[in-house]
């Protein structure tokens, strides 16, 4: 509702000004969202530390699976750092949840090129993880 009020109360509400306000609000929302994610996480960690107990309720995954995921995650970071830059960019966006067309727009590459780089990059990543004894 505050956003609507901003529109209503905008003293010089021309098109350009509204675009500026829109950009500002989205930035604020993004910043607040990231802050909130981290705040909740810290509070959760602090709560666990205070109680000195295992994090029973924070996840539905079992501890072994979490540990394995974390190990794979660290392996991915290392493997990405060894990959060629183009493949790394493509694979990173893939791991971030971007589709190939999405990633191609972000990187300003053709869809075909992006698809090839994601494919080859993932192959590199799997091979690298295998050499570390990690299986996805």
């Amino acid at each position: 509702m505050r956003v609507m009020q901003i529109v209503d109360r905008n003293p010089s509400g021309d098109q350009e000004d509204r675009a500026l306000a829109s950009s500002y609000l989205y930035r604020v929302a993004h910043s607040a969202l990231v802050d909130e994610i981290r705040r909740v996480r810290r509070r959760r960690e602090s709560s666990i530390d205070d109680e000195g107990v295992a994090p029973v309720a924070i996840t539905r995954q079992d501890p072994e699976r979490l540990a394995a995921s974390s190990e794979i995650g660290r392996g991915i970071l290392d493997c990405l750092s060894r990959m060629s830059r183009e493949r790394r960019l493509a694979v990173t966006l893939h791991l971030q949840g971007h589709s190939v067309p999405d990633a191609s727009r972000v990187l300003d590459w053709s869809v075909k090129r992006t698809e090839n780089l994601v494919y080859r990059g993932l192959a590199d990543l799997r091979e690298c993880l295998m050499t570390k004894g990690l299986r996805s």
Partner: protein
């Protein structure tokens, strides 16, 4: 290859991909460093398509090895997706997807989940830089208190002939003052415009600068208290 077999392979590949994604994204859980305001701004501009492609690439490269930055990227993308339904036009272009309705929805979701809007205190290290290295910095201490009858916001001037737009809001984003096309790097907010702000309350402000060459530079969001 039989269809069943092919489907099984595709399914396995999909499961493996999901596992990799989950593992990569879970790294943010143990990330220790915070993302600076300048980087948050960069991420937002990259995801919304405002950043040039080469700089987007550089930022993506950083997300490959910085889980906190990667998480900020995903958060920005979520916001973009939330904005998408109301601005379905031009789906094939990587352009900012903005709408007031979506922004309202986002903030309503924020209220519903009891998200408290809090701004970190200003830090001199957290400044936004443009391609020409002009930094919009306030010329006052972070979280300073200004008298309401002499409420002057000042910032480091840009190159000669720069133009400034300033927006001042309450913490709950109610606009108190908005001025554009300023030629001097300061804004005096009238006491009457601050009448609704309780003593000691914080207000937020942001500057957008149009440089002589036409390039735009945005500041991070600053805060200051009203006496």
């Amino acid at each position: 290859m039989p269809d069943d077999e092919r489907a099984a392979i595709v399914s396995d590949r999909q499961t493996a991909d999901d596992t990799l994604r989950a593992a990569f994204q879970s790294l943010a859980e143990s990330a220790r460093g915070d993302v600076s305001a300048a980087d948050l701004d960069l991420v937002w501009r990259a995801v919304s398509g405002e950043l040039p492609a080469a700089e987007r690439g550089e930022l993506v490269d950083r997300t490959a090895t910085d889980p906190a930055l990667a998480e900020a990227w995903r958060a920005a993308r979520e916001l973009q997706h939330a904005a998408a339904p109301a601005t379905a036009a031009a789906p094939d272009r990587f352009v900012p997807r903005r709408s007031w309705l979506a922004a309202a929805a986002l903030l309503l979701i924020g209220v519903a989940t009891a998200v408290v809007f809090r701004l970190p205190p200003f830090s001199r290290e957290e400044t936004f830089r443009d391609a020409d290295h002009y930094v919009v910095e306030p010329l006052m201490q972070g979280d300073a208190t200004l008298p309401r009858n002499a409420f002057r916001l000042r910032w480091r001037p840009g190159p000669p002939e720069s133009r400034y737009r300033v927006r001042v809001t309450t913490e709950d984003l109610r606009i108190l003052a908005a001025e554009s096309d300023l030629t001097v790097p300061e804004l005096v907010v009238d006491a009457a415009q601050l009448a609704s702000v309780a003593p000691g309350s914080r207000v937020l402000w942001q500057v957008d600068v149009t440089l002589p060459g036409g390039e735009s530079v945005s500041s991070q969001t600053f805060s200051v208290r009203v006496q």
